[in-house]
């Protein structure tokens, strides 16, 4: 038995960096089986403890090994709703794969790739319970909302999802680029929910177009999964120059508005030299998008490689595609000419003592200023929850940075019958975590109906 971890098919960096098609093409059937055969099927399954929704990983992998992709997918669907998506965007190396026993002496099982393989290669029709006569409103159609809607609909609840944008999917459509998550997959998930009877109302900004009170009055329960949509800026001089964007704006123009296509009416900035500030998944997405739009790209990050929060695979792919990393560097001012960005002045940093988050906090090195020429600068520094809904409905208890306070056990907010989950509750986190909270809320809502 060949014992090495199998690699998925990845398109050549020189080719893929010029288009928006998917970078990683996954496993073929033979490779998937071979990789699945590496799994030790550990009884105590440490991998499951690393999964925020506790997918039965050894079970689904054993089914892939036998070639039963439908069975494998069914096993995943027992705990997770969006396996094709999670297989692609979960940070497996810091979750399931981190705890894999095979990883102690060698390479962990490629759990993410196997999940993706099983999910992509089987169609499982979703089953639906008879109508329960209950109605639930879901606010926001990102991972949390879609998951909550799906679980409720399967239980026979009539679900209406309200989305502020013109297309459902939330961060899956406006944030994560096509080359990392094909929009066709998101569309497929949404149509399967529609198949369960879920209604999607787009162009509906809850808090503006409709009030939370109205939903509260006309539905049996409300789930709020509005995400964390407010971009952060650094507050340094020159940030309002033309050519300085939040990653949210840049990615939304390209992904949701399809500005990379000639047929789109939405304009997008075509930079020659771009600098992206930050090192999370969003920063990698922005950098690799700018590259595909024709720019030479440098990522500036104030800590070192070890602290970069992005998925390992994205950082590797970005490097292969020719993105330059200026680590331990931080912008201090943006310089312009005729109102447009011309360069960014940075300082070098070194790592000091660990801060509250446990990461070593960066300290400025004296006399270390340097300047990078650029005609576009994208800020990917994280996001915070949007106060639009909460400021229109003051009854919800809020936490730090305006997150909605919801019970960890039930996802219920300070208002009975209103539940919340995803980034709106946690601040920017991951797709899988949001999904887990959507599931929790759906369970609690169903329980409250039983008890009523």
């Amino acid at each position: 038995m060949n014992d090495e971890r199998k690699n998925p098919v990845v398109r050549d960096a020189s080719v893929r960096s010029r288009d928006f098609e998917e970078v990683c093409l996954g496993f073929d059937a033979e490779t998937a089986k071979a990789e699945a055969a590496r799994c030790l099927n550990c009884k105590n399954a440490p991998c499951r403890k690393g999964c925020p929704v506790g997918v039965n990983i050894p079970l689904f992998i054993s089914l892939v090994k036998r070639g039963d992709n439908a069975g494998a997918k069914r096993a995943i669907l027992a705990d997770s709703n969006l396996p094709s998506i999670c297989g692609r965007v979960c940070p497996q190396e810091s979750q399931c794969e981190k705890l894999c026993v095979r990883g102690i002496k060698g390479e962990p099982i490629a759990i993410g790739q196997l999940e993706r393989f099983a999910a992509d290669n089987a169609r499982i029709p979703l089953e639906k319970a008879p109508p329960s006569g209950r109605r639930v409103a879901v606010v926001g159609s990102g991972p949390a909302g879609l998951t909550c809607a799906g679980d409720l609909a399967k239980a026979g609840v009539e679900v209406t999802v309200y989305e502020a944008f013109h297309k459902p999917g939330g961060v899956l459509v406006y944030g994560i680029p096509e080359f990392r998550l094909p929009k066709e997959l998101v569309k497929r998930e949404i149509s399967s929910l529609e198949g369960l009877g879920v209604k999607f109302v787009t162009d509906a900004v809850v808090g503006k177009t409709l009030g939370v009170e109205e939903l509260y009055e006309s539905y049996d329960a409300v789930f709020i999964g509005t995400g964390a949509g407010l971009p952060m800026f650094m507050g340094i001089p020159g940030e309002n120059l033309n050519g300085v964007f939040s990653a949210n704006e840049y990615l939304t123009r390209v992904n949701l508005m399809k500005a990379y296509l000639d047929s789109s009416d939405t304009p997008v900035y075509r930079a020659k030299k771009a600098v992206v500030v930050g090192a999370g998944n969003v920063a990698m997405d922005a950098a690799r998008t700018a590259l595909r739009m024709g720019a030479e790209v440098t990522v500036v990050y104030r800590r070192s490689r070890a602290e970069m929060p992005a998925r390992a695979e994205e950082i590797v792919h970005a490097g292969e595609e020719g993105i330059t990393f200026r680590l331990l560097s931080n912008p201090v001012r943006i310089n312009g000419e005729n109102g447009f960005v011309k360069s960014v002045t940075c300082v070098e940093m070194e790592l000091g003592e660990p801060d509250a988050s446990g990461r070593r906090s960066p300290v400025v090195k004296e006399n270390s200023e340097f300047t990078l020429e650029c005609d576009m600068l994208v800020m990917a520094l994280g996001t915070s929850p949007n106060p639009l809904l909460t400021s229109s409905f003051k009854k919800l208890e809020l936490g730090r940075k305006g997150v909605i306070v919801a019970s960890e056990e039930t996802a219920e907010t300070s208002v009975k019958g209103i539940y919340a989950g995803g980034d709106a509750v946690t601040g920017s986190a991951t797709v899988i975590k949001a999904m887990g909270q959507g599931k929790l809320a759906a369970r609690s809502i169903l329980k409250s109906f039983e008890n009523a």
């Binding site: 009030g211 309002n240 704006e249 939304t252 106060p387």
Partner: protein, 275 residues
């Protein structure tokens, strides 16, 4: 899909639409805006709400054909649909604390000051209106203003109608006369800047409406950011109306030009014109 209930051509490049959008019509107030997309490839473009009819469920917007999206919209006829129409976004105008207001509208900005004229008048306030346009045929809603304003001043750049000159010429005369406690100005950025410079000398509170470039209109993209009193604000959620004496107009004017080249190119592609 949102149906165009009524389309009225106001002049050679300005069209008024009533769009069927009951949810928006049910909650909107003067000063708020909507974002629309003409079709599946359309960009999201903000328009200030010019009027609304809650009973009919329609919202009125006035559109000047200046780029690809407004050109595509101008081709749509009554009874046809546009892909998206979302709102009401931003905060409503609140001029309640003022007793004697001068409303200044430049170009299609005069469409935006109309709901305020009606609202203030029905609250029993004294309302003076100055409407400015390049030339006679670009003046809109003259009859409506005549019916409601206590005093109406029409200004044209070329003197083809009303008085020849800018809105600031008329405003200066009024301010010299005195007695006004607020100026509400909506129009092109250079006009609003000129109004604010003038009113600053008289110490009269001035409110302006900023129509910045934006994508979502809910605070998500940050594209509409502007500097007000030294702080960064978002036109979409903090505005669209701000204290004009605190707005950094030079920066706002610069930011409005960010896509100018691309827009010109795209407009030529859509209309088939050559540059």
């Amino acid at each position: 899909m949102f149906r165009i209930a009524r389309k009225k051509v106001l002049n050679f490049n300005t069209v008024e639409y009533d769009i069927e959008a009951p949810l928006v019509a049910g909650r909107c107030r003067g000063g708020q805006f909507v974002i629309l997309r003409v079709d599946e490839n359309g960009e999201r473009v903000p328009f200030t709400i010019a009027d609304y009819d809650r009973a009919a469920g329609t919202v009125t917007i006035i559109v000047q054909t200046i780029g690809a999206s407004t050109y595509k919209l101008s081709l749509k006829n009554e009874g046809e649909c546009i892909a998206d129409f979302v709102g009401p976004l931003g905060n409503p105008t609140d001029l309640n604390e003022y007793e004697n207001v001068v409303l200044v509208g430049g170009g299609i900005g005069s469409a935006v000051i109309y709901p305020q004229t009606a609202e203030l008048k029905s609250a029993g306030k004294k309302v003076t209106v100055i409407v400015g346009a390049k030339t006679k045929e670009l003046i809109i809603h003259e009859d409506d203003f005549r019916a409601r304003a206590d005093e109406l001043f029409l200004m044209t750049d070329d003197g083809s109608y009303g008085e020849k000159g800018f809105v600031t010429d008329a405003l200066k005369k009024l301010l010299d006369r005195g007695g006004y406690d607020c100026v509400f100005a909506v129009g092109p950025l250079p006009m609003m800047r000129a109004v604010c410079k003038l009113t600053e000398n008289y110490g009269v509170k001035t409110v302006v409406s900023m129509n910045s470039i934006m994508v979502d209109g809910t605070g998500m993209c940050g594209g509409c950011r502007l500097t007000v009193g030294g702080k960064t604000k978002y036109a979409c959620v903090d505005g669209p109306e701000f204290d004009g004496h605190l707005v950094d107009f030079d920066e706002a004017i610069n930011r409005s030009k960010i896509y100018r080249e691309q827009e010109a190119e795209h407009y030529c592609r859509v209309t088939g014109e050559r540059k």
